[in-house]
Symmetry: C2
Subunit: 165 residues, 2 copies
């Protein structure tokens, strides 16, 4: 960031680059939560009739990459690869990393002026680019926290919430 960008940043709540880094930090935590789950429990363990953590992560995979692709392309994303459920944690992690790459690639195409653009995501969710991205991040935090409870119930220490490294 040059001096002029820094000055502009000082007058903004958050810059596009900072928001991306914030999300990527959360994605690193979620990746660690997937990693720490035992293979069987990742796909099978549930509490109170909720979904296993694998199904929650599948939802996150169906949102982040495709959502960002739709935001930058303006076209409804096809759900081909994303619609199928990986059969191993290893494959989930591979898909997670692919989605992280998609988020980064799409982000590089966003301009500051894009965040208040009105969109109807996945053909049904009306909002703006920023409200949609906030939903993606919040929804990830929400479901990951449910994974934390599953891990605790299984006697496994989850990764620290505040460590985004």
């Amino acid at each position: 960031m040059n001096h002029s960008d820094t000055q502009t940043a000082q007058k903004q709540v958050i810059t596009p680059g900072e928001l991306l880094e914030h999300w990527l930090g959360h994605r690193r935590v979620t990746r660690k939560v997937i990693q720490v789950f035992p293979e069987k429990e990742f796909f099978e363990y549930c509490i109170g009739g909720m979904r296993p953590f694998s199904k929650m992560v599948l939802e996150l995979l169906r949102i982040a990459g495709p959502g960002m692709k739709e935001i930058v392309s303006g076209k409804m994303t096809e759900y081909k690869e994303e619609a199928t459920e990986p059969e191993s944690k290893e494959e989930f992690l591979r898909r997670w990393d692919l989605a992280t790459g998609q988020v980064q690639t799409c982000w590089s195409e966003l301009e500051a002026g894009d965040f208040h653009r009105k969109i109807k995501l996945f053909g049904q969710y009306e909002g703006t680019v920023i409200s949609s991205i906030q939903y993606f991040i919040d929804n990830e935090i929400h479901h990951r926290a449910q994974g934390y409870v599953y891990l605790r119930a299984l006697g496994i220490e989850p990764p620290a919430f505040y460590d985004r490294s």
Copy 2:
């Protein structure tokens, strides 16, 4: 917002007013989660050695109002009232509403240029105003989601995550 403000907003990721409304929406959901808990289970029910939901909400009460007061005053907040734990859900809700009022009052004192100011919150957490506020919101989503699992395990339908009304 006048026309000039609207034009400025179009070039920002998010405006201060939008971020406040985003947080207040989350605070409304968390309030509903507190409300829907049965009195006894709010204080006693746990999974996997975690805290009961009352203790998590107490943590949120110790952060939002005092954190915002510290951000706008620059002075370490004293933990007097906030340090004591309410003994009923009704009292928790009263404190919740007080804290929401504090957040709103403090927010009105924030200028756009404040968000990148460096701070050391509660004497130990180094960051900026915006990174601190993001932590407050994310931490609320995180613990509230754990409350969702407790509710599901108790056979109680939690409020919809996406309904911020």
